[in-house]
Symmetry: C2
Subunit: 419 residues, 2 copies
């Protein structure tokens, strides 16, 4: 199978010993994967476009001057990640675009719009913060010049990192008329219910906090307990308070986590003076999220011995994907005989950005045991292939104008260049 | 005052904006401080000797072939440290040795032994583990060749780091007959009681643990709470369990801390897969320490959701300084009219090693508010000067043979070279 062969080749870039990948945004291995994709576009008659924030498009023009149906995801990964997250969606998009190009050339599909596969820059946000960077610039939520100045922990800017791998482009980004994305579910629902395809209706709401715990540095072997201001003890109380929050709600309603946690000065015999941490709360129910937010602030207020500052707190509200896109995908799945259900996405995706400017369809394929952001991430071959089929059929209907065409006023706002 | 001027100059090497120093073992700033000391030895007629593990001696031979009274401490510091810890003791030793050399030359002191000031390599152990490295090799507890292979977190070996700063020496270490060290108390007792000098009778017992918490990496935004194996949650429970331990004993009897704590993969939206941490328990009472040890193991057993492995666990028992040295110091303090008391040391010192092979005197001067391993560390000038006077008087009595001479059998074991 061509798709599975291509996917195996692509997964070799930045491959880890445990079967995952390590290719954070604009690293050398991200660059290798991108060159593979550009070469693939070239071999399949697609024109490679790279915009100023490093988004890559493999485009084909059917209707001169018409806007583009975009189909994509992201090639970048977390530091030690699974090989499916993002990369599957990009390769599926490339295959779908190539397949539909052949249909158009053969006369079996009459396009109303042009078509392009997309690899959005830095969806993960692990090397450069914030996440959803490329799609955020594309929709105009972020300013490209500001984003290009963002630096990683080693002080390297987005601009320099993209230049280093040869992907700080100069092309204008294509104008979007609609967007489709396929991604692994990263949860256990589809597998548990024995379904092939998830059609996403809305994203979970999320709140993210950057917190600093300020203590006072002292000697572990000579400072009486009563005199201590131990930043690590204070920060540990916050980690456990965040975990405890989830017990206040029905099972599965609230997710609470601390992923990043840095201790200073971090020496075996020094009482820590400072901890910086990233707290993450998510819920399908905005009211639950607000209650959890209030509870977290109250719990932090109860942490003594140290000073806690909440440096940033941001809300990503729950918003819906356009119903016309959900219905289009449901009809496509029915016609293909693929079992499916509507569902929410807990994680963020580039489609969460795109749906703010154009009708957007977000599709899921099953994740074995719901495991994600882990080298153990797995989606079975038959599900990968069913997903490509589903994406291709969905995008075919978008290209022929089933959605998007009825709302020309929206398209006028959908034209963005990233420079 | 010469001593205070010298101390101010020495404190300028690796000085931090907040008034402390940052000169971890064998860094460029440690090298600068060492060159200042070697130059000081030279200007004051002392011969600089550097052994294979980077211990520096400023020596003077009074009695050809006789063993040496050693007086010293360490110049290396924690990453952001106070300027008194270790450095004060080394400079006090240099001044004492020079002053007594003048006494001998003037005929007002008749030496039975030779004399050297010492700067022991890597007392702190923050860059290269374990701590008390140079004195550990000197007393034969560590093998020099093994220690030279130890690497820091950047993979640089002790051998290369010492060579880089020009202090991987080739001289044999002098033979010791007795040892004296003066250090800041790093606790509040002397200040609270209004006393000038502490005379240490024993060190607190300590247990140190390297612990790894193994969880499972997953997505903070898509993994149900019930499916999580969050290494940071497990590790935070251990941090708080260690803190809770101290409540089981009378105030001040047990110290429990976690100083080093590293989270992997440490990305904002990834549930941590691994935490490595250094736990440190200390008590003046060996029974309390053993009870705390058992309680900690029981608490770790109760941590669920993750796997915890105790990678290393080491006991530093409470042991006594020789009574003859304590009595010698008490008489010296009385004769000088300096207020004093006997006390324990909670922290480790190079003298803890030295006392295992030769009669050893350990002295303290007051620490304001008991603050240590912090840029806020402070000992007042009059206490610094009283300490130098006390050290000089103590060492004068050691050089003339008040202790050490009566036990020739011990000295036979006290000859060590570090290669």
């Amino acid at each position: 199978m061509t798709f599975l062969d291509d996917f195996a080749t692509m997964s070799s870039f930045g491959a880890t010993a445990a079967g995952g990948v390590d290719r954070e945004a604009a690293t050398a291995d991200d660059g290798r994967t991108r060159r593979f994709l550009a070469d693939w576009f070239d071999r399949h008659g697609l024109t490679t476009i790279v915009d100023a924030i490093g988004n890559m498009y493999g485009s084909v023009e059917f209707v001169p001057g018409a806007p583009y149906v975009l189909v994509g995801s992201h090639l970048d990964s977390q530091p030690t990640a699974g090989k499916y997250d993002g990369a599957y969606g990009v390769l599926a998009a490339a295959h779908a675009v190539h397949h539909l190009k052949e249909h158009v050339e053969r006369g079996s599909l009459t396009p109303q719009f042009n078509l392009a596969a997309v690899n959005w820059f830095n969806e993960e946000g692990s090397r450069f913060s914030p996440s959803l960077m490329g799609s955020g610039v594309f929709i105009g939520k972020f300013d490209a010049d500001e984003i290009l100045k963002v630096t990683d922990r080693a002080g390297i800017s987005v601009r320099d990192a993209l230049s280093d791998i040869g992907f700080h482009g100069i092309d204008p980004a294509p104008e979007a008329v609609s967007y489709a994305e396929i991604h692994i579910e990263q949860g256990p629902i589809l597998e548990k219910e024995g379904l092939r395809i998830g059609i996403v209706t809305a994203n979970w709401a999320a709140r993210k906090y950057s917190i600093t715990v300020h203590g006072e540095q002292s000697h572990t072997g000579a400072t009486h307990m009563a005199l201590r201001h131990d930043a690590l003890v204070g920060a540990s109380r916050i980690v456990l308070a965040a975990r405890e929050l989830t017990r206040n709600f029905d099972d599965g309603l609230l997710l609470a986590s601390v992923g990043q946690f840095d201790v200073e000065p971090n020496s075996p015999i020094v009482v820590p003076s400072k901890v910086t941490m990233a707290v993450d709360l998510r819920s399908s129910d905005p009211d639950v999220l607000e209650q959890a937010h209030e509870m977290l602030l109250a719990a932090i207020d109860e942490v003594t011995e140290v000073n806690v500052s909440i440096d940033t707190s941001s809300l990503r509200p729950s918003t819906s994907y356009q119903l016309e896109g959900v219905e289009l995908a449901e009809e496509a799945a029915k016609d293909l005989g693929l079992s499916h259900r509507r569902m929410l996405t807990m994680a963020g995706h580039d489609s969460v950005n795109l749906k703010d400017i154009v009708p957007t369809v977000m599709l899921f394929v099953p994740s074995v045991d719901g495991i994600s952001h882990s080298e153990k991430e797995l989606t079975r071959d038959e599900d990968l292939l069913a997903g490509v089929k589903m994406l291709t059929e969905t995008v075919a209907r978008m290209v022929r104008g089933d959605i998007g065409a009825a709302h020309p006023a929206e398209f006028a706002n959908a034209s963005h260049t990233s420079s």
